[in-house]
């Protein structure tokens, strides 16, 4: 035994690397390099030392006679050696033959969203993420486009346990790695639930010999980027006057209390408005004083996000642990909306029986709570003349007779603010892993996922203008969700003669999910205090409801990886899944896959001739994956009681418990079978110029058939027409390219750039003939087949009529007039009717892209992410309210855009004349509402500073970094034709806020 010391440095920069694990191979003896990269360890001359550190290639050295061993570790830039979790096993990146993307977790977590996935927008080729600014950051993930008419959500595997539930219940700081399995050859090991892609998340564990206390804190401030400009009280009056005058109706007879001083110009004969007269009070009782309320301002605020996280981890020769506590709170930019999350995690494992058995667990407990609410539509509709509060400040403002019947949006928020839910989720697994022989490993993993949802919602009594409800009501609800996954695997790994590497995996899995829920309600609570309003405290009517559901999956699977000479790679998988959702005839489905890889760069002829290419791998994969997202009861004829719609007061007693009936709501389909996706993937991985440039390219064809749909049906079937069928087919073809460049200009300046672009083409290839027009079409020569899913079908708005001549010359179009929209008579039959509709857009981008830069200079680091979408058609729902008086609601407020409407004195406008009724049927879906939703946004930027180690060492710290940054910092590009605010969120969804933040990361 001798003491060996040495210094570990970065091969590229020659700077020392602290924290490197040094392990004597096949023993439990280990050490860690200090702040100067120096390690000390005892070993014998025959021992092998293994140096490993995340982000660097692992190096092994035989000690020999040396007492000092200096090691320079090569930056594992392309992480070829890095290990990737690919489903019941890990593989080296270089051995992977499927389409797998690895997320940069650190970059992902730079965004201040409740859901870690939201931070991946623009970072992974082929993965589209839609989200809005809601505090819980609900996200919609689409891997390789829309693949089915059924559920398109991917499957998540967290520490080996499958889930489809929201990731906002996972503390992003606990994530060690995140992989996206995009193609069928990679994903098919997850068989029946893998058709939409699989996202594999592994949480952190302690590292050998290193006690790390890590403290992260961050605070953000969020605000509206911009608000749709709505009319104020005066402007609404002007538009109201115009609407009446245009219709030839005396504007002073309007049912809202506006009055007008107006007359007809003697010379021109044109009506002229002199003054809008606003009554002092809206009501006779003089409680509602006329106001000039900007409702969007009234419901919005500066939001605050707080995010704190503490973790402690350690690893010893016998085991390791990682434990963390996190607190996240997002008070959104809509008043009263908030989301908070407490999370606790404990991951631990322990080695037994001469390290041949490892027993471990991963457990997370999260408690989330949320107050929802984004009355964007109510704020848009509420008239500015309505005050927020009554004159004395105690009551609510609200509509008076003549106005619309929409609620005061401020009241909606205030009266709802106590109505949060609490969701407690226990998620984790317990596992035993045994090395039966050197090559054979057995693992059993029991995953549990328990969700406990409780909510008490109090509907307060209120009076708001003519709207009122004197009865309050409490609804208390609970849902208990239990899911269990038990998987057993045998893993065999062996290298023969140094040239044949073989790994074989076989396994079984049992999945059981059970839900049980109930809701109870009561009316009449004397006091509306949250501490008082429990069901027992009410005195009025009681009501209740509840439901249950259960389903089971049973699976057998196997996988073989074979690599010859490290350059010829073959993988085959097979999964056999059974589901309780299918009938006996088709209960089990088989999901096979294979993939091939050729690392041409390992070939001698290549090495000799092409020196600038360090790595080049061709990949091909083929596989079949499934989808089973249908109702648990899809195979049955379903009769329900549904008391509210089948009860009847047959005795004429007017009250009390009524006799009730049964109704058929679904027809059985005992022949239902699995939906299948068949995907071929062609891939290419490369590294060039000493691994400075790296990337991959993918091309795929995905054909989904037997899509499980619940099609709309002919009305004569009544309520009993629902029937799940395997009824549709769809095809996706796509291309993805990821490129990275790592540059080091000196020890002090390093620049990492990476970019990705992806595109796909979707088309529906088959639908049952009777429902083919439910997706657009005319029942004759036009239907959705051969077109992208969700394509828009409607009329072509061909500008406005600007002269009597144009009106006369145009085809017969009921309601046509000067200043009105002209719709194209597409079939030229002289009449504009339903037959003149066509395909007017598709909500699929031409391509999506992202660009990420990381620059570090001395102690500073700077990063930013640009993300864009190009060539997508969006429906601008706001336009129904911003551009028309009567298309949505005449009694509702409109945007100031409408003041620029066509009029005899404003003949260049492209906005139709203000009209009291929609007699030209402009509410019809037409190209007027379809806009180009392309954009390029600065998704995230961050500037950090890491303190000198010498300085912080005194404080007992290993590292200390402070930073400032922001999310959604601006829209760099958007289409000129887009008339709304945010093309990413063109409807009434929760607005995406701009966010500025500051924070620090400490390690002790």
């Amino acid at each position: 035994q001798q003491t060996i010391t040495g210094t570990i440095t970065d091969a590229e920069t020659n700077t020392p690397i602290p924290g490197v694990n040094v392990l004597v191979k096949n023993t439990n003896r280990g050490a860690v390099s200090d702040f100067d990269g120096i390690f000390t360890i005892t070993a014998t001359s025959t021992d092998t030392l293994v140096f490993s550190f995340l982000g660097y290639k692992t190096v092994s050295e035989v000690v020999g006679t040396r007492s000092s061993i200096n090691i320079s570790l090569a930056n594992d830039a392309q992480a070829l050696e890095s290990v990737i979790v690919t489903g019941y096993q890990t593989q080296r990146k270089r051995d992977i033959t499927g389409a797998v993307s690895v997320a940069d977790v650190e970059e992902m977590n730079k965004q201040s969203a409740a859901s870690p996935i939201a931070g991946l927008k623009g970072r992974i080729a082929g993965m589209d993420i839609a989200s809005n600014g809601s505090p819980s950051s609900p996200t919609t993930i689409r891997i390789r486009g829309v693949g089915t008419l059924n559920n398109n959500d991917p499957l998540y595997i967290i520490d080996g346990v499958p889930t489809k539930a929201g990731l906002h219940e996972l503390n992003p700081n606990d994530i060690a790695s995140l992989q996206v399995l995009k193609d069928a050859s990679a994903a098919s090991i997850y068989g029946s639930r893998a058709a939409n892609g699989v996202i594999i998340i592994t949480t952190k564990e302690g590292k050998l010999g290193e006690v790390v206390l890590s403290v992260n804190a961050q605070t953000s401030i969020s605000s509206y980027t911009s608000i749709t400009e709505m009319m104020d009280t005066q402007e609404y009056g002007r538009a109201l006057w115009q609407a009446n005058v245009n219709a030839g109706i005396d504007p002073n007879t309007n049912s809202i209390k506006y009055r007008f001083d107006w007359g007809v110009n003697q010379e021109t004969g044109a009506p002229e408005l002199n003054k809008v007269l606003i009554p002092e009070f809206l009501d006779q009782q003089q409680t509602l004083r006329s106001s000039n309320t900007n409702w969007f301002e009234e419901i919005s605020r500066v939001g605050v996000i707080q995010d704190y996280n503490v973790s402690l981890s350690n690893g010893t020769e016998k085991g390791n642990y990682y434990t963390s506590f996190g607190f996240f709170k997002n008070e959104g930019i809509i008043k009263t909306s908030k989301f908070d999350r407490f999370s606790l995690r404990l991951n631990a494992d322990y080695k037994l029986f001469n390290d041949r058995v490892v027993i471990g667990e991963n457990l997370s407990i999260t408690k989330t709570s949320e107050v929802e609410g984004a009355p964007i539509n109510a704020a848009l509709q509420a008239l500015p003349i309505i005050p927020v509060r009554t004159f004395d400040g105690t009551g609510w403002g609200g509509p008076v007779a003549g106005m619309n019947d929409r609620q005061n949006p401020v009241r909606l928020l205030e009266d709802n603010k106590q109505n949060d839910y609490d969701f407690l989720r226990l998620f984790g697994s317990f596992y035993v892993e045994a090395n039966l022989t050197k090559s054979l490993k057995f693992r059993t993993n029991l995953g549990l996922d328990y969700g406990d949802f409780t909510a008490r919602r109090l509907r307060k009594r209120y009076e708001s203008g003519y709207l009122n409800n004197p009865v309050n009501r409490l609804e208390s609800s609970q849902t208990h969700d239990f899911k269990m996954t038990w998987s057993n695997t045998l893993n065999y790994n062996k290298t023969f003669n140094d040239v044949h590497e073989l790994s074989v995996l076989v396994g079984t899995e049992y999945f059981w999910a059970n839900t049980n829920s109930f809701t109870a309600s009561r009316e009449d609570f004397v006091i509306e205090d949250e501490d008082y309003t429990y069901l027992d405290a009410g005195t009025g009517i009681k009501n209740n409801s509840g439901f249950g559901a259960e389903n089971i999956l049973m699976s057998y699977f196997g996988k073989v990886n074979y690599s010859l000479l490290d350059r010829y790679l073959v993988t085959g998988t097979l999964r056999y899944d059974g589901s309780s959702r299918f009938g006996e005839n088709n209960r089990f489905g088989t999901f096979p896959a294979f993939s091939l890889g050729w690392r041409i760069s390992e070939e001698e002829f290549f090495k000799d001739n092409v020196s600038f290419i360090n790595e080049l791998k061709f990949r091909y994969g083929f596989g079949i994956t499934g989808n089973q997202e249908i109702d648990n009861n899809a195979i049955f004829n379903v009769y329900v009681t549904d008391y509210p719609t089948t009860a009847y007061d047959i005795d004429g007693s007017k009250t009390g418990n009524l006799p009730s009936g049964y109704k058929l709501i679904q027809n059985a389909n005992p022949n239902l079978k699995w939906e299948e996706s068949m995907m071929s993937n062609f891939g290419l991985d490369f590294e060039l110029f000493n691994q400075k440039v790296y990337g991959s390219a993918e091309y795929y064809i995905k054909e989904t058939s037997d899509i499980l749909i619940l099609p709309p049906y002919i009305a004569t079937l009544g309520e009993g027409g629902n029937q799940f069928i395997n009824g549709a087919s769809m095809e996706n073809k796509g291309f993805e390219l990821s490129l990275g460049k790592r540059s080091s200009f000196s020890n002090e300046l390093q620049v990492d750039l990476n970019a990705n672009i992806s595109l796909y083409k979707n088309k529906i290839t088959k639908l049952p003939s009777e429902v083919v027009n439910a997706y657009g079409g005319n029942g004759a020569d036009q239907n959705i087949l051969g077109r992208p899913v969700n394509s828009f079908y409607g009329y072509v708005a061909d500008g406005l009529f600007r002269s009597e001549e144009e009106v006369v010359q145009h085809a017969d179009q009921p309601g046509k007039d000067i200043g009105r929209i002209r719709y194209s008579d597409l079939n030229g039959d002289g009449v504009v009717n339903a037959d003149d509709q066509t395909w007017i857009g598709a909500p699929h981008p031409d391509f999506t892209y992202g660009f990420n830069a990381n620059v570090s200079y001395k102690n500073f680091d700077l990063s930013f992410l640009l993300q864009g979408v190009s060539g997508i058609d969006v429906i601008n729902d706001f336009k129904y309210s911003t551009d028309f008086w009567s298309v949505s609601e005449t009694g509702s407020n409109k945007a100031t855009r409408l003041l620029d409407a066509y009029s005899p004195t404003n003949t260049n406008s492209s906005i139709p004349a203000i009209s009291l009724t929609d007699s030209n049927f402009e509410s019809r879906f037409s190209t007027y509402f379809v806009e180009n939703g392309s954009y390029l946004k600065v998704r995230n930027a961050q500037l950090g500073y890491s303190f000198e180690e010498d300085l912080i060492k005194k404080w007992g710290m290993k590292s200390m970094r402070i930073y400032i940054g922001g999310d959604n910092l601006g829209i760099l590009l958007k289409s000129k034709s887009f008339t709304g605010i945010d093309p990413e969120n063109p409807g009434f969804g929760y607005p995406n806020p701009l966010l500025v933040k500051t924070g620090f990361n400490l390690k002790f």
């Binding site: 030839g248 109706i249 005396d250 049912s255 003549g402 106005m403 049992y510 009501n543 249950g548 559901a549 059974g578 309780s580 209960r587 648990n632 009861n633 049955f636 379903v638 329900v640 009681t641 008391y643 719609t645 089948t646 009860a647 009847y648 007061d649 047959i650 005795d651 004429g652 007017k654 009250t655 009390g656 009524l658 009730s660 009936g661 049964y662 109704k663 027809n667 709309p712 002919i714 009305a715 004569t716 079937l717 009544g718 309520e719 009993g720 027409g721 009777e770 429902v771 027009n773 439910a774 029942g779 009921p814 009717n833 339903a834 009567s886 009694g891 009724t917 929609d918 007699s919 509410s923």
Partner: protein, 548 residues
């Protein structure tokens, strides 16, 4: 492992679990239940289709843009086959048909021995099916017809032109005929259809069937055999325990007056019944005046109010009533006016301490200040229920009223040239109306108007020819049944909807600007378009109604 995957479904029933007569009873209840499963945009009272589409009422609400689809229905503009509200109405009426057919199918699993009520329940189910088909027929004309023997798998192949209009009427009539044969004369439960209700509906169906129609829905002939059937069926009703209420008002009041002697069949509503808001009269919720609720829809037209004016003989001004607006200071009126139409200054629903004000109306300058009374109740009524922002009530919705049946018979007699026998039927209604003035007073006991109504006295105040009798009958139907959902369908049955409504528009649009563009296209607007979606689902096997 297969057994592991065999799960029994949760919280639902499969057909083999439905095996007892008690279960079968529940299918009957479910079919009845659908009668009350309407909502504001597809009211089964059909107020937008029977009243607003006629000369009796305006849509109302805030302005034409509020519930715009009903503005289009009112003015016969922009009526296209893809208006979703027509599709929803069509669908929900077929829900009723399907529930009845499902019930009839289940009945076949039982014998009369183990299920003694079986025949009665079959009769009830066929009655309900007949009702829903009747509504579909009068709204859409050409409709697909399916019964309990039609295999659901073939439903989509059954077209709306498989049967002629007359064959459809025959099928509907056969349900009521069957029901009239098996149902007991009186049911112990008031909500159930009985034999008298079946005869009443049979009379109605045969009356609609009797008018034979041409290409443009004009009357081409009248089938006297069917008229005789009307009389035969109506006579069963007139001979029953049902009768006219002593006071016309009793038909439209809640509480002890509901399911009264004049109500032959009615939809039952309830509250505090274990559902969230109660099984209320959701379909009519929009017609509550703004002064006591929301949202002031269904506003009686000036034309309707004028029609109640009577001359010095107490008779209607058949041809001249609409020349001037009724002047309440100087003119006499039919008392039924103030049971049907609320006017500012009058008590609301006979409640002398609750006076209707002009500002109860939401848009008086557009739709005037009249409100519809019959379906409404006093805000003090225990059934009056806030369903924020709307107000519902639990008053029964009368489908068949004894007075209606009297007029079926009178109409049949007149068309058969037996107008003399019709006279007493019409006069009975006029006499009852003339005496129904007790409640039409203010707090001081003073009458709300000068009421003057007399029976027809041939040779004295009228010449009782067939033409005059027909005129009198048609006017009487309007006065007796206005705002009860019948007027438009009466006009179509008589083949006069086009001329009557275009004449109405020509005058009324000088009073009401919202009717400016209104125009009725003869041969088209008598019926709604077949919903475009249904044509698609049928793979173009359904044929669109002419003109759409």
């Amino acid at each position: 492992c297969n057994d592991e995957l065999d799960l029994d479904p949760k919280a639902i029933l499969s057909e083999d679990q439905i095996s007892t007569p008690q279960d079968a009873e529940r299918f009957v209840i479910a079919a009845y239940s659908e009668l009350g499963n309407d909502e504001i945009n597809r009211p089964f009272s059909l107020w937008p289709y029977g009243n607003v589409r006629s000369d009796d009422a305006y849509k109302g609400g805030r302005d034409p843009g509020d519930g715009q689809h009903f503005h289009f229905t009112e003015t016969f503009t922009n009526l296209t086959p893809n208006i979703s509200f027509f599709d929803e109405l069509w669908f929900h009426l077929y829900v009723g048909v399907r529930r009845a057919n499902e019930g009839l199918r289940i009945m076949e699993n039982f014998t009369d021995d183990d299920y003694p009520a079986k025949q009665t329940r079959i009769g009830e189910l066929r009655f309900i099916r007949g009702h829903f088909y009747f509504e579909l027929k009068k709204l859409f004309n050409r409709i697909p017809y399916l019964d309990e023997n039609t295999d659901p798998a073939t439903y989509k192949d059954v077209t709306n032109v498989e049967f002629t209009s007359d064959e459809l009427w025959e099928k509907i009539a056969s349900d009521f005929e069957f029901a009239s044969e098996v149902l007991p004369q009186v049911q112990s439960q008031v909500g159930r259809a009985d034999q008298i209700a079946a005869f009443a509906y049979l009379a109605k169906t045969r009356l609609y069937q009797a008018y034979e129609k041409g290409e443009t829905h004009q009357v081409t002939g009248i089938n006297t055999a069917h008229l005789q059937e009307v009389i035969a069926a109506a006579d069963k009703v007139l001979a029953s325990d049902h009768a006219l209420q002593s006071d016309y008002a009793n038909n439209f009041l809640p509480g002890p007056f509901e399911n009264g002697v004049e109500s032959v069949f009615a939809v039952q509503f309830s509250k505090d019944d274990g559902t969230t808001n109660g099984r209320l009269n959701f379909g009519d919720m929009l017609t509550v005046p703004q002064g006591i609720g929301c949202c002031d829809f269904q506003k009686p037209s000036q034309n309707l109010v004028n029609a109640f004016r009577t001359d010095e003989n107490g008779l209607p001004l058949f041809d001249t009533f609409n020349q001037n607006n009724v002047d309440f200071a100087n003119n006499t009126v039919d008392p039924r006016l103030d049971h049907t139409v609320s006017r500012p200054g009058n008590p609301w629903k006979y409640q002398t301490d609750l006076i209707v004000e002009e500002n109860w109306s939401r848009a008086p300058q557009i739709y005037g200040t009249f409100n519809s009374l019959k379906e409404n109740v006093s805000p003090d009524d225990p059934g009056f229920t806030n369903v924020d922002p709307f107000y519902g009530n639990t008053k029964t919705r009368v489908i068949l009223r004894y007075a209606d049946v009297m007029l079926f018979k009178a109409e049949a007699l007149i068309e058969l040239g037996q107008q003399d026998q019709a006279l007493s039927l019409i006069n009975a209604l006029r006499e009852r109306a003339a005496s129904s003035t007790t409640r039409l007073v203010n707090a001081d006991g003073i009458a709300l108007a000068n009421y003057e109504l007399e029976p027809y006295q041939p040779g004295v105040n009228i010449e009782w020819t067939q033409a005059n009798a027909r005129k009198a009958l048609r006017f009487e139907r309007r006065m007796e049944l206005s705002l009860e959902g019948h007027r438009f369908f009466d006009l179509v049955r008589w083949g006069v909807a086009g001329p009557v409504l275009n004449q109405y528009f020509s005058i009324e649009q000088t009073r009401r600007a919202h009717l400016q563009s209104a125009s009725f296209a003869i041969g088209t607007h008598e019926y709604l378009p077949i919903p475009q979606n249904q044509i698609f689902f049928s793979e173009n096997k359904y044929v669109q109604n002419p003109g759409y």
